[in-house]
């Protein structure tokens, strides 16, 4: 079975293409808690077992929380996240989330999915894409295709009414990444004209902005400074998220958190938030301008501006978008669901399901690809480490382009072709993808040239062919980076290691979530209240141990009622 997965910074979702016999449409699969969105959070319990999703998120602000979130921002880097006694890479954490989604589908349909289409931000570079692909493999899924998030959203948007569309713009502001794609649809063709983005801009940054704005007046006595910084940050960001949601509906919202029995609270106004987020809002413009410039489309001739991503719910962001485009955006697709649905549609297309008319998607490569070169400067010195583009950004893929380069030294015996991806004029600012050495006959400088051909296919695979016209020798390199080469050998063992981790039984997720919540409340309050919470929690744990479903249900209802009451009316 082929599933479509939106692996998000904050939330992930999984969807299925329901074949023609089931109505021929994409459908989201609810998780064990009945929710269509699963927080991209992983937590390690003190006993070493792994918890994912909402229950993990609940543990984030605990003393021994050991919870990771927003790890999508670390994809493609070597950074490790320490959870309890274990260390995880971003792709391993992503794999754990993917595994949870996979079991949700299995529980929902009774069939174990084996293949997936996973979405990535359009502006993910090659390394980040490869890490995502590996995450899928680690989760035991064959990744049939990585598809760009805005492209997936465009697919979902376009199939709503199957209408012809003049170029429209997908504005995808997620939890941690920002993408802009300009897409055109006609005659069953979905053509992406240009994509641009900012890998480091998303809803998380707005949370940080709120937290920064209020921290001073929220906590004049420096109480938060006394507790663990990681925990203080977690409390602040969670409170900021709540305020942000509040500000989407009202002109002001409460910013409140409880730490060690002390309740801190203040009010945030919309205008204050706006002032604090001004820099972030300004950063929204740049990718939009770039995408329009690259596709040579006037903002006025866009037929729609389609909003995707949870962060586009903020009135602040909507206002900015309205100003940018001189019109109101289109919010007809569900900002959190569209990407996963699009991924499922893509899955249906790959499976050539009869319920789908043939749709062809043509995409672009959003980054410039080229090689490192050196040149003689006007002053007679040799400037090294320069980037010579071969495939310009936003070229439709698949594409094959070549460039001619020649030797710089007399009697040079080989040319080292180093391949880079990025927009910087000096290769040091770009992502190194690979390299190959090409032996050439020794001749005076400039007399030997090589023809470097880049072939970039629609799944994002880059192949480099180098020909030496003088000798007719040909060399070929399929870009697989270090990590990949290593991974090929130990992917299997890593997968086994991940699978061997003690995963919390899926059916216990609700109980785990309740326990985590109780634990959080226990840490928040002091004195009598804390004692009551502790007491009820012990009763609940005892019920769990008894394995008597009725007793468990009763204790859960009890505990939930208490926690709801406490959270609604925090005792001061």
């Amino acid at each position: 079975m082929l599933i479509g997965i939106d692996l998000g910074t904050t939330n992930s979702a999984v969807a299925l293409w329901q074949g023609s016999e089931n109505g021929g449409e994409a459908q989201l699969v609810p998780n064990v808690l009945g929710s269509l969105l699963t927080p991209s959070a992983v937590s390690v319990l003190p006993d070493g077992s792994i918890l994912t999703g909402a229950a993990a998120l609940e543990r984030m602000a605990l003393k021994d929380g050991a919870t990771a979130t927003s790890f999508k921002r670390l994809m493609g880097t070597d950074r490790k996240v320490r959870l309890g006694k274990k260390e995880f890479s971003a792709e391993e954490l992503s794999a754990l989330v993917l595994m949870a989604l996979r079991s949700d589908v299995e529980a929902h349909t009774g069939t174990r999915p084996t293949e997936a289409v996973i979405t990535v931000p359009a502006y993910f570079n090659d390394r980040q894409r490869k890490a995502t692909r590996r995450a899928g493999e680690l989760a035991g899924l064959t990744v049939r295709r990585l598809i760009n998030e805005p492209t997936a959203a465009a697919l979902a948007f376009g199939l709503q009414d199957k209408a012809e569309r003049e170029p429209f713009l997908v504005f995808d502001l997620g939890g941690g990444t920002f993408d802009v794609s300009i897409v055109e649809m006609f005659e069953g063709i979905v053509e992406v004209r240009a994509s641009a983005g900012d890998n480091r801009l998303g809803g998380d940054d707005f949370n940080s902005a709120i937290a920064t704005a209020v921290r001073g007046r929220l906590d004049p006595d420096g109480l938060l400074g006394k507790i663990d910084e990681r925990r203080a940050q977690a409390l602040l960001l969670q409170a900021a998220e709540r305020s942000k949601r509040g500000l989407s509906e009202a002109q002001e919202a409460e910013f409140a958190l409880t730490a060690d029995g002390t309740r801190l609270s203040t009010t945030v106004t919309a205008s204050e938030f706006e002032a604090q987020a001004e820099g972030l809002i300004r950063r929204l413009r740049d990718p939009v301008v770039r995408a329009l410039r690259d596709s040579q489309i006037d903002a006025a001739s866009l037929s729609e501006v389609v909003l995707v991503g949870g962060a586009t719910r903020m009135p602040l962001v909507r206002k900015a978008i309205t100003r940018l485009f001189g019109r109101f955006p289109n919010s007809s697709v569900h900002p959190d669901h569209a990407v996963a649905l699009g991924a499922a549609i893509q899955g249906g297309l790959i499976a050539r399901d009869g319920g789908l008319e043939e749709i062809r998607i043509t995409d672009v490569c959003p980054f410039t690809l080229g090689i490192e070169t050196a040149e003689h400067s006007a002053r007679g010195t040799v400037q090294q480490g320069l980037f010579s583009p071969i495939i310009e950004r936003n070229t439709p893929v698949p594409v094959s382009r070549s460039g001619l380069f020649s030797t710089m030294g007399d009697g040079q015996k080989q040319i080292e072709v180093k391949i880079y991806q990025g927009e910087a004029r000096e290769v040091s600012g770009n992502v190194h993808l690979g390299q190959l050495k090409v032996p050439v006959p020794p001749r005076p400088a400039g007399e030997v040239s090589i023809d470097v051909r880049f072939s970039y296919d629609s799944s994002g695979l880059l192949e480099v062919d180098v020909e030496v016209p003088l000798t007719g020798a040909k060399h070929n390199l399929v870009i697989i980076d270090e990590e990949d080469r290593k991974a090929a050998s130990d992917l299997e063992s890593r997968r086994k290691a991940l699978a061997a981790l003690k995963h919390h039984p899926r059916e216990e997720a609700a109980n785990q979530m309740l326990l985590a919540r109780a634990e959080r409340c226990y840490e928040e309050f002091l004195g009598d209240v804390r004692a009551v919470v502790g007491d009820r929690t012990r009763q609940f744990v005892a019920a769990l141990d008894s394995q008597d479903p009725r007793r468990i249900a009763d204790a859960a209802t009890d505990l939930t009622g208490l926690l709801d009451m406490l959270e609604a009316n925090p005792p001061l």
Binding site: F186, G188, R282, L292, A300, P398, A424, S459
Partner: protein, 595 residues
């Protein structure tokens, strides 16, 4: 791809119908596996694009209306709609329109009129034909209410009174005002205080406007402003920082796609930032910066507390990264610090020679002052100046002036014609008295100073004056050579004529006339700072020098690079001046100004 080929690839007959073209493209695309046939896909795309281009060109006029950016777009807010409604009167529109695109290819003075943002859409027939007129006419608009600033530092006018395009034009006018007047000066002067205040005000309005318009308009303003700021550099310097902040120009730095104007401005921006930082006392190179920017006087010496390594680091860094900042330095001061050995061939012997001269002058001053300063306690108190001493001084000064300028000039006359030179004469007299040196020494000393001023002025003024001064100088060198090559080269290097040298009366007379002429023309002011220059000596001249001196080629070239014996160098110097004076080549002046 030609249109004919395009239609063949698409498999349809020539048509302006976009729908047909798309359908044909879609059918062909679905029939192929693009990953297997990359070239075929590229060809198909190309054909589609060519066909669409052709179709757009041959589209019927009504199709155009579909793309009217204003059709169906509701005004955003009240402010916006106000602007749209607020159509300038007929006459007003035309007077502004004359300024729209600039004829010379420089930045457009106004942008919004073309975009139709604030003003109503232009009547293409009347608006743009008028706009072909040269931009200069815009300046001549007599009813321009902004030509005269009302109050210094006041923001020009509120948006309500002044639409965006007027701000754009006002800004353009401020930045290009000077070039318009046809000034000979190549580098426009910086904005004056009130101009800067006005320009910043207009810029603020333009930026505010940019932030409220759609991205496409924003992009256009971005491009327009970048080009204008780059074209009007360095006048636009104070505007750079705020504009760059709004348009995020620095994010573009070092990118493959960095626009040329942005690349230029980003480099300037870094220079400005560096200057700002280095002016703070905490900066590691602050002392070096202060040292190099302090104007050097006759009596200046290197700062005591500045490390040589830091000055060199600053100089090298500025020259490499921010060459535009070097004009902040005092060239005399730089000369003090610049390396003295001529190892670097690139700089050429001319400039090196001159820097060396400065260095030598100051070295002499340093030695003397250092001595005076460091021994205040042991030296006898300066004698009280008696009336007779004053009379004696006046006589000595008068004598020197008469010797240099001729008897018609007195100290009083000199004071009125060139007060600072008169002060220099007096000061040197005081020094001479405290030194105990005689009148002749004093006279020689001030004569040297005047000669130096004549020379420096001539280098700046160029033209016939330069030739005259160099002619006299060649004669002086000839006279010096009679005493010895060492004395000749000492004069070249230090501008000090050895007292053993007997200058022929004819030369003295010519020099006197020249000095008088320059004094009358107020050309004997303090030497202007000037950057070291260099010139290329053509082979023809080298040949002449060889012929004149009888020194072989190799030694002549060596001498020109400041090497070889003093005798060679002296002879080559004189011969080169003579040969250049007699020569009519195009670089004559350039060579004369580095000799």
């Amino acid at each position: 791809m030609t249109p004919t080929q395009a239609w063949r690839v698409l498999g349809i007959a020539k048509t302006p119908d976009v729908g047909v073209i798309r359908r044909a493209y879609a059918d062909r695309l679905k029939a192929m596996d693009i990953d297997q046939d990359v070239d075929g896909y590229a060809r198909l795309r190309e054909a589609r694009d060519a066909a669409l281009r052709w179709a757009r060109m041959h589209a019927k006029p009504e199709v155009e209306e579909e793309f009217d950016p204003f059709a169906g777009v509701a005004p955003l807010d009240e402010g916006e709609s106000d602007k749209v409604l607020e159509s300038p009167s007929e006459s007003e529109t035309s007077s502004w329109l004359y300024a729209a695109p600039a004829a010379s290819g420089e930045a457009d003075p106004s942008l919004t009129t073309r975009l139709g943002e604030a003003a109503p859409k232009l009547d293409v027939t009347t608006g743009f034909s008028a706009a072909q007129a040269p931009a200069d006419q815009a300046i001549a608009v007599s009813r321009d209410p902004f030509a005269q600033p009302v109050l210094l530092g006041l923001e020009p006018t509120s948006d309500a009174v002044m639409p965006a395009w007027a701000h754009e034009q006002a800004l353009h006018r401020l930045l290009f005002a000077v070039q318009r007047q046809g000034d000979d000066d190549d580098t426009p002067p910086p904005l004056e205080g009130w101009e800067e205040a006005m320009a910043l005000g207009h810029l603020k309005a333009v930026l505010r406007h940019a932030e409220t318009v759609s991205v496409t308009a924003f992009d256009e303003i971005d491009n327009w402003l970048a080009r204008m700021l780059a074209d009007s550099w360095p006048r636009s310097a104070p505007l750079l920082e705020p504009a760059a902040a709004v348009f995020g120009w620095e994010n573009e730095r070092g990118q493959v796609s960095e626009r040329p104007a942005i690349a230029f401005l980003n480099a300037r921006l870094r220079g400005l930032r560096f200057r700002e930082k280095v002016q703070e006392p905490g900066h590691p190179l602050h002392k070096a910066w202060k040292e190099l920017t302090t104007p050097a006087q006759q009596s200046s010496r290197k700062g005591w507390f500045v490390k040589r390594a830091q000055v060199e680091q600053l100089l090298a860094g500025v020259r490499k990264n921010f060459p535009e900042l070097e004009h902040h330095f005092d060239p005399w001061r730089v000369a003090l610090w610049d390396k003295q050995d001529g190892a670097d061939v690139e700089t050429g012997w001319f400039s090196k020679g001159r820097l060396w001269i400065f260095a030598a002058i100051f070295l002499i001053q340093i030695v003397r002052f250092a001595f005076n300063d460091s021994t205040p306690d042991t030296s006898p108190p300066p004698p009280a100046i008696s009336a007779s001493a004053v009379a004696e001084d006046t006589k000595a000064i008068g004598g020197a002036i008469a010797a240099i300028f001729g008897p018609e000039i007195t100290l009083e006359g000199l004071k009125s014609l060139q007060p600072d030179l008169a002060a220099l004469f007096s000061a040197n007299r005081t020094i001479a008295r405290s030194d105990g040196s005689d009148d002749a020494a004093y006279r020689a000393k001030v004569h040297d100073l005047v000669r130096e001023r004549m020379y420096m002025t001539a280098l700046v003024e160029k033209g016939p004056l330069l030739a005259d001064v160099q002619r006299v100088r060649a004669d002086l060198l000839r006279a010096a050579r009679k005493v010895g090559a060492a004395q000749c080269m000492a004069y070249v290097r230090t501008h000090r004529l050895d007292r053993q040298i007997v200058v022929p009366d004819a030369t003295l007379e010519a020099e006197r006339k020249l000095a008088l002429r320059m004094l009358d023309a107020s050309q004997l002011g303090p030497p202007q700072r000037m950057a070291p220059a260099r010139a290329q000596v053509p082979g023809e001249l080298v040949g002449k020098v060889i012929a004149l001196t009888g020194i072989p080629d190799e030694r002549v070239r060596k001498a020109m690079n400041g090497k070889g014996s003093d005798a060679d160098q002296c002879a080559v110097n004189i011969a080169l001046i003579d040969a250049t004076l007699a020569w009519k080549g195009k670089d004559r002046e350039a060579i004369l100004s580095v000799l």
